[in-house]
Symmetry: C2
Subunit: 462 residues, 2 copies
């Protein structure tokens, strides 16, 4: 089962171990079955059509919104049509933040003439209660802010303007490293007496899209309004500040947080034929930000997860362990769905063999990030040669995902679907994250690679 | 030099051979120098800005067109600004085919009401001399056509309608397999007495873009007009034919071939510091089809090839062997530039160590296709671990490229830059092949990977 017999693997330089006859047969069977999963996905994949519906008929679906509830119903009906053994909802209370009217930010210099900035509220931000006008102090980091004299910050906006580092090959590393400005910047600014925060958008592109995303308020300090500026606007404001340090920005945002709302995770399940009590969960998050259609973040992960079940059924590869697709609610601003799923699994005494998540976009598959002890990582990676003919080469230890994170102590392994990361942060959390940015084949190949690994996990366990 | 010392390689599961101290030092030096090439490309790469100019200021540049000549001048000036040791043009006579007025194809049924098809002339086709109206016979292959009774074909259009096979993981395989319909279909149709050929566009997408591309007329039979239909139009015509086998298509194309025109390859060169007589050529093709801007086909290959030289200079990594960037003219409909380059190299007694080509689009790098004897392939592949941290994992024997093909008997190795192939044929030879379809980082990563391999070739030879 460990070494594929595909001829292309031979000249790919892999060592063909001499295996016992039974193992050789298993390897051949697995190669053939994985090829069947890919054939089904490439010839008759439904991920793309499902995604079209979710993105263009429902659209952006922030937790608590009417669209999020439409998405729940859509997910349930779509899974019911797959003829699964069980489809159900898991109730969960979610935050309900609303953006309100389109945000405005105007730079006003000595001459009084205004210049519009491309801006949007960060998710969870309080509103400005009318127009909020203040001077601006620019910093590159939380550390630089902490070192500033109090009078340099008090009563001003803090502009957090450190760009993402373009030198990382995987863009997620750069996102992780720059993200403290968005998450912790607003409260750090408030702690120093600032009236608000302006945060450079988390992207490697130079353009006019502001990128929203969650902030985390510190309960110990006042909640101040926080907005993202597009990278072009952040650069422009920085330039203007150099020429006129006394300029002001006038910010107007009517966002607010309403009472929590009842929502749901959507769960579909194929019962394992031999070990129904061992569960393999595969999921994406159903909620999205409100600025666009939530295509790559994370409509793709949802349709791929449902497609894993469909591919297993369509190919007749009934899994020996139970396989569940979960459309998690509220990844973006609370992870309430992910937490609820783990909590209910624990309360029910469920045994999770593995949990897999797709939340890095629907781009061409590169491999998987495997989060487990070293021995388990090695076991999973033994299957890598079986997916090498499909370009899935990068099976590395690493962070698996946000929604399955709460399952860490309950699952033998957490697995993050890893795909090409170059375009993701051009679109992430912006108005550009739309269906037309998704390539059908890239999406379907991703679902097929997830199905292949789920098939192996369900057959062999760990 | 064979094994990188990057820590990420350790957990990527590669075996670290115990190397002599000198080899360890060389490996470290190479890792560091390759990282410098990538840093320069990601932080200050110029490929993207160069491509913007070529695509949006010059645009489509079919051989013999005024835009092709503008592109030659642009290429020369752009390379001169790099401060190379030598920049020059190689004169070459090229075909001069012109599309004329926008093509029209109308389906006319029993009721006489017309339905427009999305159509364009295949490159090199003769025109229709006014409107050409005929019935249509549909086939899936050249073999099926050859087996048809003569009366089924005579006086009709042949519709070649075999789709590209979606099951291949690399789309180029499907293109290669379906391409006989476009290249040989028109003359095969003429041989059976048809008045013209309609060819399903070579793409895996289902949309309304007709894809042009070269046909090859057989001198032994009449030249009949040949057009590509978009996949949607081909499907639609096929459906209509089932309902009404007697329907006619009225085709109108004013394309024609004019006398050959003088044009040029553009060549820029850095002299090798130790072995100036050993040459490494890296190139793309400067001509493109006329329907769009020739962004992925092959503006990206041109700017990446020039970027290889710029990266070597900017990092101070003066190559020990001579490195040449060549912008080949006329890949699309004649390969006159590629043939001329090889002919002049032979006449001058030049010794080519290697020739590399980028002509599969500017998508995320996957590796290289290596065309050489088995021992040389093995030697080149020994360097693969050095590029593994950058996602360049797929170094396989295979076809390297059309423009460097004529150098086969003169070069130790031919190398094709291999990148993600999923989106390429959505754009290839259509009006959609525009600058906005290119991602900056994907493009620059590709140029960096080419520069890294050129650096290794120039340092170690073969």
């Amino acid at each position: 089962m460990l070494v594929a017999t595909f001829r292309r693997l031979l000249w790919a330089g892999l060592t063909l171990t001499v295996l016992p006859a039974a193992a050789q047969t298993a390897a051949t069977t697995d190669s053939v079955n994985i090829r069947r999963l890919y054939d089904e996905a490439l010839a008759r994949g439904q991920s793309y059509d499902n995604l079209r519906h979710l993105c263009t008929r429902i659209g952006g679906r922030l937790s608590g919104s009417p669209q999020a509830e439409q998405a729940v119903q859509w997910g349930k009906v779509t899974m019911e049509m797959l003829g699964l053994d069980r489809v159900y909802l898991q109730e969960v209370m979610v935050p309900h933040w609303v953006r309100g009217a389109k945000e405005k930010a105007v730079v006003r210099g000595a001459k009084g003439k205004g210049l519009d900035l491309a801006v949007c509220a960060l998710g969870g931000s309080v509103g400005t209660g009318g127009k909020l006008r203040a001077q601006v102090v620019e910093v590159q980091s939380l550390q630089e802010l902490a070192a500033l004299p109090a009078e340099k910050v008090k009563g001003k906006f803090v502009l957090f303007n450190r760009p993402m580092n373009p030198l990382y090959i995987e863009t997620g590393q750069a996102y992780g490293e720059a993200g403290d400005q968005r998450r912790a910047g607003p409260s750090a600014a408030a702690r120093r007496g600032a009236v608000g925060a302006l945060v450079r958008s988390l992207t490697l592109a130079h353009d006019d899209y502001p990128h929203t995303g969650s902030l985390r308020y510190d309960d110990q300090v006042a909640k101040v309004p926080a907005a993202a500026l597009s990278t072009n606007s952040a650069d422009q404001l920085s330039q203007l500040l150099k020429a006129d340090p006394d300029l002001t920005v006038e910010l107007e945002m009517s966002c607010q947080t309403l009472p929590d709302v009842k929502s749901y995770n959507v769960v579909g399940e194929i019962k394992g034929s031999k070990y129904p009590d061992e569960i393999i969960t595969v999921g994406g998050h159903l909620d999205s930000w409100d600025l666009a259609q939530g295509a790559h973040d994370d409509g793709t992960g949802c349709v791929q997860s449902m497609e894993v079940l469909r591919l297993l059924k369509a190919t007749g590869l009934r899994p020996e362990r139970t396989v569940r697709a979960v459309l998690f609610m509220n990844e973006e601003n609370g992870v309430r769905g992910g937490n609820k799923y783990a909590e209910l699994a624990k309360a029910a005494g469920e045994k999770h063999l593995a949990a897999m998540e797709s939340d890095g976009g629907g781009f061409t598959p590169r491999g998987f990030n495997i989060e487990a002890d070293a021995a388990t990582v090695r076991r999973v990676r033994q299957w890598q040669p079986l997916l090498r003919p499909y370009g899935s080469t990068n099976w590395t230890p690493g962070h698996a995902g946000t929604d399955i994170g709460p399952l860490k102590s309950q699952a033998r392994v957490l697995i993050g679907y890893d795909c090409d990361s170059q375009r993701y942060f051009d679109l992430h959390h912006t108005a550009a994250d739309t269906f037309d940015k998704v390539n059908r084949r890239e999406l379907e190949l991703g679902g097929a690679s997830m199905a292949a690994l789920v098939y192996l996990l369900s057959k062999y366990g760990l």
